[in-house]
């Protein structure tokens, strides 16, 4: 008895849940509303079956429950009924399948006038590339990837020289223009998903896959990776900003081409030494840091990371949070650097500084810290040496009190909340895994024990 009532209540409850809940499609921002239509059609067909079958079940359980004197029928087969049910089911199935295949045909057939953009996925970041004036993307290969050539483009391919490179995880697209997104992975399987666009596709290393769409609504949409790609999978995010064409063109024009990135003069550490003079007052003549002045060690930190942080301070991506006192102090200093060339020279100089034996000031449980460090190692390296490919700086031998403060800043949203601070956002997500002060101290105490020298030496070979 109760079961029959419960079945009816569950059917009604499910329907109420469906119709009354706020949890429905995120508003669509692309041309693929036909996909939503196929989903809704499927809901109707399956919904009708769900209701009918279960209500019938409930009625049957009620009406034919065992009572004194009640007996069951003996009815092995009813071919006519079974054939009718088969036919009706087949019709229902075909009714769902046909529109689905029709829309799929549209997805498979990329319009000839679609613009091209390439989305490059790696553990755990996005970058993008446009074909430039010649309309064609240059040849790329995973074996060509270096810190200076992160896209792995072939310098001998003339088609690649004018490719426009977007090193940050934020892509812009013009509204109302169809675009074919070519998908390339540097390392493992990933997946490019923008929920509002509806379409998604895996990135497969060794292959170029694709999807196409026409963005129809200006706005900012998150890119989510939707194929498990390792421990940072959930933190691999990007953004697509859809703008009017004029804004898009202006943005595109401001980005470097591959040739331009390769033509940059080599960084000059000697020139950088001159730039460094003003930094030495706080960070020390040898870049060893000064805890009393809240200036961390810089010596030996990787140039690409130093460049990024200086840019971040200069542009307010870092240091503009109201509670970031020390970050705010850095901002005018970063602004003093005249241009990108100065920043590159300075960073090269600082990276070359040898650094001295450090003073450990943070105490903690090293064994517990080793276990906690496991996740960090995926990006920052088993010896804390840093991995440029993952945008993870060196941690080993750096000022431990500074590491503690940065972890706290990430946790409290003091750092990593700026819209353009994608890598900071990632760190904030990971820092949340260290729930309390004890965990932070433990992991930093463990980092203090790391010796990155072998890894760094190996890398130089």
């Amino acid at each position: 008895m109760a079961i029959a009532v419960v079945l009816v209540l569950l059917v009604i409850g499910s329907l109420i849940f469906h119709f009354a809940s706020p949890w429905w499609f995120t508003p669509i921002a692309s041309n693929w509303s036909t996909m939503d239509d196929t989903v809704i059609l499927t809901f109707w067909v399956t919904g009708v079956v769900f209701v009918i079958v279960n209500l019938f079940l409930a009625w049957v359980v009620l009406k034919y429950r065992h009572r004194k004197g009640h007996k069951a029928d003996y009815d092995p087969e009813n071919k006519k009924l079974e054939w009718w049910l088969t036919i009706i089911t087949s019709v229902g199935v075909a009714a769902m399948l046909a529109p689905g295949l029709f829309v799929w045909g549209k997805f498979v057939d990329v319009p000839d006038d679609a613009a091209i953009v390439e989305a490059v996925g790696q553990q755990w970041h996005w970058s993008f590339r446009f074909p430039g004036e010649d309309g064609e993307l240059g040849h790329s290969d995973a074996t060509l990837i270096t810190p200076e050539n992160p896209f792995g483009l072939d310098p001998d391919d003339p088609k690649g020289g004018d490719d426009v490179l977007v090193a940050s995880p934020e892509l812009r697209l013009p509204v109302d223009r169809p675009v074919k997104v070519l998908l390339r992975s540097k390392d493992v399987l990933h997946n490019f998903t923008v929920t509002q666009f509806r379409v998604k596709m895996d990135l497969v290393p060794g292959m170029i896959t694709h999807l196409w769409l026409t963005p129809t609504v200006p706005g900012s949409y998150e890119i989510l990776c939707e194929e498990l790609c390792g421990v940072g999978h959930f933190a691999m995010r990007g953004r697509v900003v859809v703008t009017p064409p004029a804004e898009f063109d202006a943005w595109l024009a401001g980005l470097p081409t591959f040739d331009e990135t390769q033509a940059l003069a080599a960084a000059d550490p000697h020139a950088g030494a001159a730039q460094y003079a003003v930094c030495a007052a706080c960070h020390g003549a040898a870049g060893e840091g000064n805890p009393a002045l809240n200036a961390p060690r810089l010596a030996g930190q990787e140039a690409w990371y130093l460049r990024r942080q200086i840019h971040a301070f200069r542009d307010g991506v870092r240091g503009s949070h109201e509670r970031d006192t020390y970050g705010a102090q850095m901002r005018p200093f970063a602004a003093m650097l005249a241009d990108d060339a100065s920043i590159r020279d300075l960073a090269a100089y600082v990276e070359s500084l040898p650094g001295q034996a450090k003073q450990a000031t943070v105490a903690g449980d090293v064994d517990r810290g080793r276990r906690l460090y496991g996740t960090c190692a995926s990006c920052h390296g088993v010896e804390g040496q840093g991995i440029w490919a993952l945008n993870a700086p060196r941690l080993a031998d750096m000022s431990d009190w500074y590491l503690v403060r940065q972890l706290q800043n990430f946790q409290h949203g003091v750092r990593g909340t700026h819209r353009q601070d994608f890598y900071g956002w990632q760190m904030a997500t990971f820092a949340d895994g260290l729930k309390n002060e004890r965990s932070i101290n433990d992991v930093v105490a463990y980092i203090n024990t790391l010796d990155p020298q072998p890894a760094l030496t190996a890398r130089k070979d």
Partner: protein, 585 residues
């Protein structure tokens, strides 16, 4: 006659005498079945605990801090692999298959009892190797139960060193065990049925397990092949699946391999695998419904054909797991079509289950409650499969929580409800005792309502766009705060359901001593296993003479019969003609 000799042959010579030979190193299919079931349930409980830990992280990410991202991915991988392979497959085939096939077919044991015994011990070895991966440096693999390369063997994924290798080795060992058992199940059904037991007189439980075994024998090699090739990629540096890449800035030295090749092989196994779990459940639930409603299964022939059709079709739908994999998009048309076609025999089975209850005499026993719960949840899960099988509809939903909701409903809820119902149903025969009815009902309601409360909302999270396999959702710009509330609610429901398993275990264990002694056929069932001379059945099952079968497995409430059930081994008498009215003259 030939079949009598086979069914009757006491292959192992004489009855075992020592405790060791009777209960441990035993070739008796009933003992082997219980051994399989105990190990499977134990390792399933391990996976259940892992899922509780996962849900704590997902539901309350700011409160609980003992699961970090690496562990989370290791937990989801081990949870998934254990549940699908080491629990469900082992329990349905090694557990129920071993117990039921000889008894329902009227034979004394399986045809190769020594190999049958070995299959359990090899299975146990596979479990030990799998659990050992928790204790190696780097821990178990965190690549997801699908183990996709190249990430599974590359840094960045937990367990990319020893963990994945142990997993692959364990799977290889399991497949050997499965093959040894599977040869038994198939050959016994084909060759060792007792006199009068034609294939079409077999109960649907046997059909379901039989077809599932055939699927497994043909599909597991695909997993074996991919396991060998991935092991070589991970240890010897071959490039079966590994293309040229830049992994963490370094070149690991592979070239030319195809990750999609793995996916094709894996899913060529993986899709039949879900039917290896589902078909025994379909068969068993048919018998539960029939027995407890005192009515023949409706449309037995269609049910058999549907089982065969589903089994056959299951080999041509695999790439519906790969719609967004980057494979040739034109394959989408083919696989969407075959996938939606397979819905038709499945739907027929659903109709026939409900039509079995129609005009029946439904006793709402605990097994019947679980069977009804199965119908409800399987209808839900099967219908959501129609979304995911239709390639276009799948596109926005793929890799979202909609998928998680769907596969848990059809793999984790419906078959588990059947497992519970079946254990309650056959417990009196296996142990000779009855369990506590009240506790059984409490267990049913908590499980049925609890699992629905867990998985219904997940589908809507998927529609919103919440991705699966995310350690933490964090703050997004488009998902509402209420998503976190739903996650918390789902976690609470999950913890309640997990706790309710304790009630089940308590009932099953304590009833072994405290339960009332059970009659040999408490449900009045027609199938042969209830007609054994002893309860629990002794070694050799039937005493000195094998049964002789005279009728099909569903003579319930036959008009004119003295009782509302007529066991299969009761001779046909002119006065007790069939419902067609055509009696022997």
């Amino acid at each position: 006659m030939a079949y009598v000799a086979i069914a009757d042959r006491d292959v192992h010579g004489h009855d075992p005498e020592t405790f060791f030979l009777k209960y441990i190193w035993s070739q008796d299919h009933k003992v082997i079945a219980i051994q399989y079931s105990c190990v499977a349930i134990f390792v399933g409980l391990v996976a259940l605990v892992l899922s509780a830990l996962m849900r704590l992280q997902l539901g309350f990410p700011d409160t609980f801090h003992f699961v970090d991202p690496s562990q989370y991915y290791q937990f989801i991988t081990m949870h998934g692999m254990i549940m699908v392979i080491y629990l469900l497959t082992a329990l349905f085939l090694g557990g129920f298959g071993n117990y039921l096939i000889p008894l329902m077919c009227g034979s004394r044991d399986m045809v190769f009892p020594y190999m049958n015994m070995l299959s359990f011990w090899v299975y146990l070895l596979a479990v030990i190797v799998l659990l050992a991966s928790f204790f190696v440096p780097g821990g178990p693999t965190g690549a997801g139960w699908t183990l996709y390369p190249p990430q599974a063997v590359l840094p960045g994924t937990p367990g990319a060193g020893s963990g994945i290798i142990l997993m692959l080795v364990s799977l290889g060992i399991f497949i050997v065990a499965f093959t040894m058992g599977g040869l038994n199940y198939v050959t016994t059904v084909l060759q060792a049925r007792c006199q009068g037991m034609t294939l079409m007189r077999m109960p649907l439980s046997v059909w379901g397990i039989f077809m599932a075994t055939i699927l497994g024998l043909l599909a597991f090699p695909a997993l074996f092949v991919s396991a060998i090739m991935m092991t070589l990629d991970g240890t010897l540096g071959t490039s079966f699946f590994m293309p040229a890449i830049s992994s963490m800035g370094a070149d690991p030295g592979h070239d030319g391999g195809s990750p999609l090749l793995f996916q094709h092989l894996f899913w060529f196994f993986g899709h039949p695998e879900v039917y290896i779990v589902a078909l025994p459940a379909f068969g068993i639930v048919s018998d539960l419904l029939s027995t407890h409603a005192r009515k023949n299964i409706f449309g037995y022939r269609m049910m058999v054909w549907a089982i065969l059709a589903i089994g056959g079709l299951s080999f041509v739908v695999w790439a519906h797991h790969m719609y967004v994999s980057g494979m040739n998009p034109y394959f989408g048309f083919f696989f969407a079509t075959t996938t939606l076609i397979i819905a038709i025999p499945t739907a027929i089975k659903v109709y026939n289950w409900v039509l079995t209850l129609w005009k029946g005499d439904i006793h709402l026993t605990v097994p019947m409650l679980f069977a009804i719960g199965f119908i409800f949840t399987f209808v839900h899960g099967g219908l959501t499969g129609l979304f995911l099988g239709n390639v276009t509809v799948d596109l926005p939903l793929s890799d979202s929580y909609f998928v998680v909701g769907h596969f848990h409903m059809v793999m984790g809820v419906s078959p588990i409800l059947v497992v519970f119902g079946a254990i309650y149903h056959w417990y009196p025969k296996i142990t000779g005792r009855m369990w506590n009815d009240r506790l059984g009902r409490i267990h049913f309601w908590l499980t049925f309502l609890g699992t629905y409360a867990i998985y219904l909302p997940m589908h809507y999270l998927g529609i919103l766009g919440v991705p699966r396999r995310y350690y933490a959702l964090g703050d997004t710009e488009f998902l509402p705060e209420s998503v976190h509330t739903i996650n918390a609610a789902i976690t609470i429901a999950a913890l309640v359901v997990a706790a309710s398993v304790v009630i089940f275990l308590y009932n099953m264990i304590v009833s072994l001593w405290k339960g009332e002694k059970a009659p040999s056929n408490p449900w009045g069932a027609t199938t042969l296993e209830w007609q054994t001379p002893d309860t629990p059945p002794k070694h050799g099952n039937w005493g000195p003479r094998l049964p002789v079968v005279h009728r099909w497995a569903y003579d319930y409430s036959v008009p004119g019969a003295p009782e509302d059930f007529t066991p299969q081994n009761v001779p046909v008498d002119a006065r007790h003609a069939t419902g067609t009215g055509h009696g022997e003259g």
